[in-house]
């Protein structure tokens, strides 16, 4: 192997790794706040990417309708939960969030979608749609289970993944799609050629990490989210609604997933079920980070990306095997390093 090939592989690995880093961060975030291992993270990626790709062809993606349907379900659940003490203010708030918001997004999508819609508008629309889906997913599938064990939440998570993947097939078909590139600019340094797309991947990843750091370190909402993660009861006792924290965490995770999807769909063809595998690689990074550490997750994601790039060069048939095998030594080391793992109390 010569240096040029190695540099190419490294560049490829880091580009993919940056995406895995974003997804890994979202997984850590969601787990910390809600104890949910977010398997449907991959579906946020596909939904974001494919909604963007469909919008680029001038059509309205089915996900916009899904958001409205999920919102209606969430509204029904809100009404059912509050049936004993129906207060107008609460009902109106729920109506605004769960019905008016997705309806507005749907109307906006119909109003703006067309073959000549600018890329930025399409991106904004797909982000809105997926963010709404993430928000309602928490309300429907996880908020009613918020007090249960990690295992129950995981089972629900797997269920959501399967359901959303099936819906993905309905909305986008079995054919793969590609979206238009964010920018066609390119930059050449020595033997390496950086496309505008890959620069956008690096830039957005770094921006997101910094933004998350600022959000959790310096804003009251961010601190409240951290507090929920550190001590649920403590958070409730100071009046932080853990359901709100969960909603914010899912909203952020959905946004991050959709952005990742939009970043990769111009580079690779995505199918309705591609997201799962991408999400799993983010998950490996998150596991290496112990599902708690953001910096460790980001570094691990770059490692996962590089290992993937190199193994696809040397043993492309075993690419996935090699990447997923990474998790074994990590799990062994972690279980050796922490013999007294605290058992789930509730």
């Amino acid at each position: 192997m010569n240096t040029t090939i190695m540099l190419f592989l490294l560049q490829d690995g880091i580009t993919n790794g940056a995406i895995y880093a974003l997804l890994g961060l979202a997984l850590v975030l969601v787990f910390a706040v809600t104890r949910v291992i977010l398997i449907p993270q991959g579906e946020f990626v596909t939904f974001g990417a494919l909604s963007y790709a469909v919008l680029a062809t001038g059509k309205v993606p089915g996900t916009a309708w899904l958001a409205l349907a999920m919102g209606a379900t969430a509204f029904a659940l809100d009404l059912f939960d509050a049936r004993r003490s129906l207060r107008l203010k609460r009902v109106l708030r729920s109506l605004a969030l769960n019905i008016a918001l997705p309806a507005a997004i749907l109307a906006l999508t119909y109003g703006l979608a067309g073959p000549k819609t600018p890329i930025a508008v399409n991106i904004a629309l797909s982000l809105l749609i997926v963010a709404a889906i993430g928000l309602f997913l928490y309300r429907i599938a996880f908020q009613p289970l918020a007090h249960t064990s990690v295992l129950v939440l995981l089972i629900s998570s797997v269920g959501c993944h399967l359901a959303l993947q099936g819906l993905g097939l309905v909305f986008f078909g079995a054919e793969g799609l590609r979206g238009p590139a964010l920018s066609n600019a390119a930059l050449t340094i020595g033997p390496l050629r950086f496309t505008g797309q890959s620069l956008a991947v690096y830039g957005l990843t770094i921006a997101f990490i910094v933004a998350l750091w600022l959000f959790f370190g310096f804003t009251l909402t961010g601190k409240a989210l951290r507090a929920t993660a550190v001590n649920r009861l403590g958070a409730r006792l100071v009046g932080i609604r853990t359901t709100l924290s969960g909603q914010i965490a899912f909203l952020l995770a959905a946004l991050i997933g959709a952005i990742s999807g939009i970043l990769i769909v111009p580079i690779t063809t995505l199918y309705y079920d591609t997201g799962f595998l991408i999400g799993l690689k983010g998950f490996i990074a998150a596991i290496i980070g112990g599902l708690v550490s953001y910096p460790l997750t980001a570094v691990a994601a770059l490692l996962v990306g590089s290992v993937e790039a190199f193994s696809s060069f040397y043993a492309s048939n075993f690419k996935e095997v090699i990447v997923f095998t990474l998790i074994l030594p990590v799990l062994v080391l972690r279980s050796l390093a922490a013999p007294a793992v605290e058992e789930e109390k509730d």
């Binding site: 601190k223 409240a224 951290r226 507090a227 550190v230 009861l233 403590g234 409730r236 100071v238």
Partner: protein, 243 residues
């Protein structure tokens, strides 16, 4: 005088085991009320149920409004606050952030005043404001738990065993602060095993045994009650053995 908190005929169960049976109590404005009793009497259970952490059967009203339909966060917003037995601090966050989150439900301007008030009550917290809550000593953690609760400007503060596991000198400090809260317009419902200290600062007291109140009255009456003296104050009045 209408009661700030009134609980009537409250029952709390863990599954089929009834931990609190038919308990009624009230706390008036600017009053310090204590519930004393041995380990396992149901005191902590009762406080948690009043806060909404555990389901309670019976009537609860706070500041004249029925609380049955309110969840914990609504009760906090209404001005009811619990400092739980295990303090439930945010261990990996610093003292200042813990306090800041205590003021989560109130406007920012009020929060600044709350900071000053809490730092005045517990100067130690100001010294330690950049330290992680989990690394504080037990006494400091208790101060922080109380400080965090006071940040939200509650009308009624419920304290669960604030003296648990603390050195006597710190206990004295904590109790003096509780006494000072009255001047700040905060009512206190205090649950304690350290009956002597609790009765000294309280206006009224309830004695709890096996999930029920067996006695209630003014703190001084309770303190001079022979049975209480024998069981909880650790000394016997003359003739107490006759009971």
């Amino acid at each position: 005088m209408s009661a700030l908190l009134s609980v009537s005929d409250a029952h709390v169960s863990y599954g089929k085991v009834e931990a609190v049976r038919s308990v009624s109590l009230d706390v008036a404005d600017n009053e310090i009320v204590t519930i004393i009793g041995a380990n396992g009497a149901g005191k902590t259970t009762l406080l948690n149920a009043i806060m909404g952490v555990l389901p309670l059967k019976g009537g609860t009203a706070f500041a004249g409004a029925d609380m049955a339909a309110l969840d914990i966060e609504d009760r906090v917003a209404a001005g009811l606050c619990l400092v739980p037995e295990h303090r439930e601090l945010f261990g990996t966050m610093n003292v200042e952030d813990n306090l800041l989150l205590g003021a989560f439900r109130i406007p920012k301007a009020t929060a600044t005043q709350s900071f000053e008030r809490v730092y005045a009550l517990f100067p130690r917290l100001k010294e330690r404001r950049k330290q992680l809550a989990g690394t504080l000593s037990g006494g400091e953690q208790q101060m922080l738990a109380m400080g965090r609760a006071l940040m939200g400007a509650p009308k009624l503060l419920m304290l669960d065993e604030p003296s648990l596991g603390l050195a006597p000198i710190i206990v004295a400090d904590i109790f003096r602060t509780i006494g000072e809260l009255r001047a700040a317009g905060v009512s206190v419902l205090l649950v304690e095993q350290n009956a002597q200290a609790a009765l000294k600062i309280a206006d009224r007291a309830y004695v709890m045994e096996l999930g029920e109140f067996i006695l209630s009255g003014s703190a001084s009456d309770i303190a001079s009650n022979q049975r209480v003296a024998a069981s909880y104050l650790g000394f016997q009045h003359e003739g107490a053995s006759a009971i």
